[in-house]
Subunit: 413 residues, 2 copies
């Protein structure tokens, strides 16, 4: 835990003690033949890849903050990243953990193989946002670096044309390594911050394919054809590693870059079924016009994970509260479209109030009871995830993180 969390997972909303695992930063075992690595939780995401890169391997989940975020934090939040469309979330790559329960017992969940017997307590801990246990060792699987990677950036006059291209790519049975979209506000912000030389367009789509060279070459032509058929105004194909890195620098900087075009901003994180994307994005655009707050959109289009960035100025009375309301309304659009409260940033303190919109009382009661098995005293990250903390006697009332705090954390990414 380096305190880098975009989603504020390490923020002690109910006060108390924060356990930093930053100095548990050793790589304990690298087993190339069986494609797995065991590390302490303070090792950064990118350092796992660095340790296995000489052998031609890498660790697949790649949150935009991968240079600084720790694998322990990734486990807590079940982090995704631009490439989770094809490769899955952290939970799909963690084989086992060693963890200490709040009562002091040391337990081993999962193992070093794909499947282990007994109830899957590992899946329970991955994504539990620190509410169940303190993870002290993590075994992850590593993947062989693909033979070829090809990336293109296509510009469109409308979000509908970009969205239709995504639908057609997926419908053609192509599973890109990544499909990212950014709208004009996000493009301008990225341009101002890191100069990726993006076109000045309404929408840009970034598509990356990876795999065996022959496959990538054949499918890449089809992706290019689909983008052209939907009226792409420009298509830029990265010819070198440097060009590819530049495109990703633009995309991965987008959150922090928002600070260049707005004094403050609030990052929302929701999910909609892929087929409902255009409808929800148009509702967000209408909300932007109605609220008077600019909303930048950066999202993982392939799996419908939206990241609207709501711009506001805390010096203007009422704007911070208005941003909170806008963010809440966007979440309700996601749920109404059959989506979810969070794609990868977790529930935390801010969203626990919305859990009853997605789950019934019986669903939530079961979650609470399972949590109580690990943490009967409610001492693990109290005030997070669960919507009814009063029942646990954890915190005296409802908590809501102020957007300025979230923005402050995001700036450090």
């Amino acid at each position: 835990m380096h305190g880098t969390g975009l989603s504020g997972g390490a923020l002690p909303v109910a006060g108390g003690l924060v356990i930093s695992l930053a100095r548990l930063n050793r790589i304990l075992d690298v087993d190339i033949a069986n494609q797995r690595v065991t590390v302490e939780p303070g090792v950064t995401n990118l350092d796992i890849t660095k340790a296995v890169a000489p052998y031609g391997f890498y660790y697949a989940p790649d949150p935009s903050s991968q240079q600084v975020c720790s694998i322990g934090g990734n486990v807590a939040e079940n982090s995704g990243g631009a490439h989770c469309l094809k490769y899955g979330f952290t939970v799909h790559h963690v084989l086992g953990v060693e963890a200490v329960l709040p009562g002091g017992e040391l337990v081993h969940l999962g193992g070093s193989l794909v499947d282990t017997p007994g109830p899957d307590l590992l899946g329970l801990v991955v994504g539990s946002e620190g509410t169940l246990a303190v993870v002290t060792k993590v075994t992850v699987r590593i993947l062989r670096r693909p033979e070829a990677v090809q990336t293109l950036l296509a510009a469109f006059d409308s979000i509908d044309a970009g969205g239709a291209s995504v639908s057609d790519i997926i419908s053609a049975g192509i599973i890109p390594a990544a499909v990212e979209m950014m709208d004009s506000l996000a493009i301008r912000a990225a341009e101002a911050a890191v100069h990726p030389n993006f076109p000045d367009a309404d929408t840009v789509l970034i598509v990356e394919l990876d795999g065996p060279t022959a496959e990538v070459r054949a499918l890449f032509d089809r992706v290019e054809g689909i983008c052209k058929a939907h009226g792409a105004t420009t298509i830029e194909v990265a010819q070198t590693d440097e060009q590819r890195a530049r495109i990703w620098r633009g995309r991965k900087a987008a959150f922090a870059a928002m600070g260049r075009v707005s004094p403050n901003y609030y990052v929302q994180d929701g999910v909609v079924p892929r087929t409902r994307l255009p409808e929800v994005l148009n509702r967000i655009r209408a909300l932007e016009a109605r609220s008077g707050l600019r909303i930048g959109n950066v999202f993982h289009a392939g799996d419908g994970n939206l990241h609207p960035l709501i711009c506001y100025d805390e010096r203007v009375a009422g704007q911070a509260d208005a941003a909170v309301d806008v963010a809440a309304e966007i979440l309700s659009y996601c749920i109404e479209a059959g989506g979810s409260l969070t794609g990868e940033h977790g529930i935390g303190a801010d969203k626990s109030q919305y859990m009853p919109k997605m789950f019934t009382e019986a669903d939530l009661a079961l979650m609470q009871r399972v949590r109580a098995v690990f943490d009967p005293g409610g001492i693990c990250n109290p005030g997070k995830v669960f919507p009814t903390p009063r029942l646990c006697g954890e915190v005296p009332g409802p908590y809501r993180q102020h957007p300025a705090e979230a923005a402050g954390l995001a700036d450090r990414m």
Copy 2:
């Protein structure tokens, strides 16, 4: 639950009531655009594929019994199949379930998207062998049928040559859809039962690649080259769908076919890290010589999931008990090699006694406590999975399924 379970999951070892869900067999929703299907638990595995095949999709996990086994049973056992090396187990394909807890509460675990908020109770229920809840609806994701599928069968003079081929294929970064191995006894049994026209060899390796045509063509040549380099005596490439189906008929019939070469047999299910396969297989061969019981080996070589078939004759005094001892010894080899008690058939009653070999007391106590949240009275499939039933007051003593019962169940597959 049709009572087809190879692993005897539906067997009420402690007596009591068996709830059959066989008539909950409706397909409730087919959502092709979002690639998901919702069914009742009694729908068979293959019927899901049949429902979506007209649209070019299929349901990936394919246990050998897929014509008769139900999706509810697959969820209970976290079933795999020949193609789980590339595509994963049932848990990787179930998006959500509706379930009834033993206390009567109806809960919804997971959802219809890849990731949902809160503790992952879904992963807990998948593979819980009926010990947590009764699943009444299942939403699974479906995959687009690959453009091309190519299958080869290679024969080798030794298990080491076959195993070395598997290692080289995986090390080359190729992820086949399936990599299966069978030894001479299993080959002869399959030949006697379904006449797949397999070569009379020490070992056969079946490798299947799927994906875009260009990729499959390029990689298939490399797989063929690797098999030749390790001295394959014959290589047969399926040229038609009929030839491909014949190869799989031979492989998938292997368990039941064992009845043609032995009056009784006992199916073991264990996992070893891929790199330890040759060592463990040689130990099994030595055990075969020492015990005087023939052992056929059929296994998912790509992920190290062994299925030794221990032949015995229950009419010969002591042989049934000897088979049990041999099966137990093979499991100890798996665990000593850093493997696992079960790959896909579950723990059930038979293996619960071995759980303490893999897990510490704290690990098992935590599992028990989580189970108690769902099923405080211990009424859900009592006597299964957990090694210390006495602590739960569920059953009066240790249970062990007689191998003849297991064989009887297997014969019905």
